[in-house]
Amino acid sequence: MRIKSRKFGTKAEGDMTPMIDMTFQLIAFFMVLINFTEVETDERVVLPISELAKPPETPLDRPITIQVTADGQALIGGDAMEVGGQLELALNRERRVLGRLGRSPASVPIIIRAHKEAKTGKVQEIIEYCQSSQFEKFRLRAEQEIEGQNDED
């Protein structure tokens, strides 16, 4: 008894429409969420968490970001340097560039992104170096607390 279908030779075609619909929806989802912000970040720096850390309502006017790693190195524009003469040179260079652009260092905010386990004294030393280069506005950056997150360490 042969039950084999006579349709053996016909081409089986699945309906592709739902799959393509879903795929386009996924693409749209990821495209909307993609983040092209140019925030200077570094994986060596894990920011401390604060419930009051809210993004500023108006973007800062061309700030300078100084990152501080847990072992006390300063990072400016991706260049790692020890806190000392090298940092002073880098800050003076920034000041000269600002001078050529006609901006005073006192008006330029310095964003300090320090690792949560960095030594406070190091951060203060960096602030002192900035002050000696005539920078006066500082912003200490922290990460916003996500609900349910518990910083026990």
């Binding site: 795929t23 495209m31 401390p48 949560k116 030594k119 406070t120 006066e136 200490l140 950056r141 916003q144």
Partner: protein, 171 residues
């Protein structure tokens, strides 16, 4: 003269789907790989003009300074915290509060309700004096405690003038 081919009129036009699906999947994989959830970041303003610059302005109302002193051990853990030389005792563990909640409470007792008309908060500044080795996260927690509190989703600001005492070298 009719050139149209009568046979082709009922013929089904089949789109070639394979290249499109290939590209779509490539795009999908690109977006999945580059997807990263980034927590939002915020700033605490501190204003620290360089020493030696005259800061006395006759128009400025005299400000009161509250001194917060944070001590640490060599590993950077917070060992004690004082507000104007009065030590703050941490609440018993399990109460859900920590020593920074006590700090906030004391600051609120000193300056009064920050939303009220008689609040001293606008004319008060806080100076943080920290040990050199103290972990930076405690400074942020201290600044968070004195600079505001959350009520629901709203931030109630307390003190906005924050500065650091010169670094305290230890060990």
């Amino acid at each position: 003269m009719k050139v149209r081919n009568a046979d082709r009129e009922n013929e089904k036009i089949e789109l070639q789907m394979t290249p499109m699906i290939d590209i779509v999947f490539q795009l999908l994989i690109f977006f999945i790989m580059t997807f990263k959830i980034v927590a939002q970041e915020g700033d605490f303003n501190i204003r620290m003009p360089a020493a030696g610059v005259p800061q006395s302005d006759p128009m400025v109302v005299e400000t009161t300074t509250l001194k917060v002193r944070m001590k640490s051990n060599l590993e950077g853990d917070l060992t004690s915290i004082t507000l104007d030389d009065r030590a703050l005792t941490p609440p018993p563990s399990g109460s859900g509060a920590d020593v920074f909640d006590v700090l906030r409470q004391r600051v609120l007792e000193t300056v009064g309700d920050p939303t009220g008309p008689n609040s001293l908060a606008p004319d008060t500044e806080v100076e943080f004096e920290c040990d050199y080795n103290l972990d930076y996260q405690y400074v942020i927690r201290g600044i968070t405690a004195v600079s505001g509190k959350m009520e629901g989703n709203k931030v109630i600001k307390i003190i906005e003038k924050i500065k650091f005492a010169p670094p305290n070298k230890q060990g």
